[in-house]
Symmetry: C2
Subunit: 218 residues, 2 copies
């Protein structure tokens, strides 16, 4: 029997639910750092298993659909893309856990400097994740392309944070430990944006049914 619209709809809902949990994890991890709220950091870390469980559940649902139904070309690509996308979402959540762990550490020491670029990176990265998933759900190629474009902004901010931290470390070697921790947070956010970009690339691939990933030799 072919896949019914309800089944695809159900899958779609699960992916949306997972994406909003992941977005919240990013937001809360950075908030736990900026507001020095170690309890919130702890909650992000402890909540990660729910995202992992949903990842596995979606995977099982996809396998079931592939096994029991005979998905048509369009649904087939939607299902296989969902399986890949949720792997990225799950790893984004892992990065939020990593940020929370750094926050737990950093919150025990005096603040190096007010966080300005980090929250900006976080907002952009959250938007990228949200829009990449929206592009998937709505088959919106334009939105997916837009997500990919935003990746450079996050890379630039990561570079800027890094340069600034180098200056701070040079000026006062006592800051090295903390500065390196902050640079890791920045790197985790950059990686989250990379995952969102990967999702967007897979969405375009799904829509076009052809290769837009890795378009040219680099």
């Amino acid at each position: 029997m072919p896949v019914r619209a309800e089944e695809i709809e159900h899958l779609r809902e699960m992916v949306i639910r997972m994406a909003s949990m992941v977005e919240a994890a990013i937001r809360d991890s950075v908030r736990s750092l900026v507001d020095r709220d170690s309890e919130l950091a702890q909650r992000v870390i402890e909540g990660d298993h729910k995202i992992n469980a949903l990842d596995v559940q979606i995977d099982e649902e996809c396998i079931k659909l592939l096994a029991l139904m005979q998905p048509m070309a369009k649904d087939l690509r939607f299902i296989t893309t969902a399986m890949k996308i949720t792997t990225d979402l799950e790893r984004i959540a892992d990065n939020a856990v990593n940020i929370s762990e750094r926050a737990l550490d950093l919150n025990r020491y005096p603040i190096l400097k007010p966080y300005i670029d980090i929250p900006r990176m976080s907002r952009i990265a959250q938007g990228m994740v949200r829009d990449a998933i929206d592009a998937f759900i709505r088959y919106d190629k334009k939105l997916a392309v837009d997500v990919i474009m935003r990746d450079d902004e996050v890379d630039d901010l990561n570079e800027a944070v890094f340069e600034e931290l180098i200056t701070i470390m040079r000026r006062n070697p006592d800051t090295i430990d903390r500065a390196v921790q902050v640079s890791y947070v920045s790197k985790y956010l950059e990686r989250i944006a990379d995952h969102a970009t990967n999702i967007a690339e897979m969405v375009i691939y799904m829509i076009e049914g052809r290769i837009v990933r890795h378009t040219a030799p680099q």
Copy 2:
């Protein structure tokens, strides 16, 4: 028509080919740093598109098998796992490119200190990738578990490298730029080991047909 053994065999061969290209990329990227061989670094960067092309080709092959055949449970999981595994392999290759880019930078300046832990990490990471793929090909759960166990070793080495670099930076702030670059190389290798671990987890999941990923709340 059901998937024929030759088709699964062909898929298996493509995955093995991709894995050995990825392994070579890791090895060469670290060699380009240790031997200060910038031409080799350049070759890794330029060769990456071949790995990307193979990733897309395997993806297409899997979609074709899912679309045209009616894979039985075991083959179905093999095919969907192949699709996910190659995403990890492709990203491992991206990390090798990142290492090569850092090597190009670092090779222009005097060496900080002889590289000892980095080549060790690289050897372990390469072995993890190779064995994770072997475990996939041979349905070898024991080997997959063994890969996962080795991840801690790489994490510990990454920590050790990091601590040592902090000491070097403290002693001489002029080394900060280079030291941070080296810490990134170490981080990229750690990430490669993480991808190998992810592959191994997916292999166990494939073999057991149940969840070994994310086994417990963290």
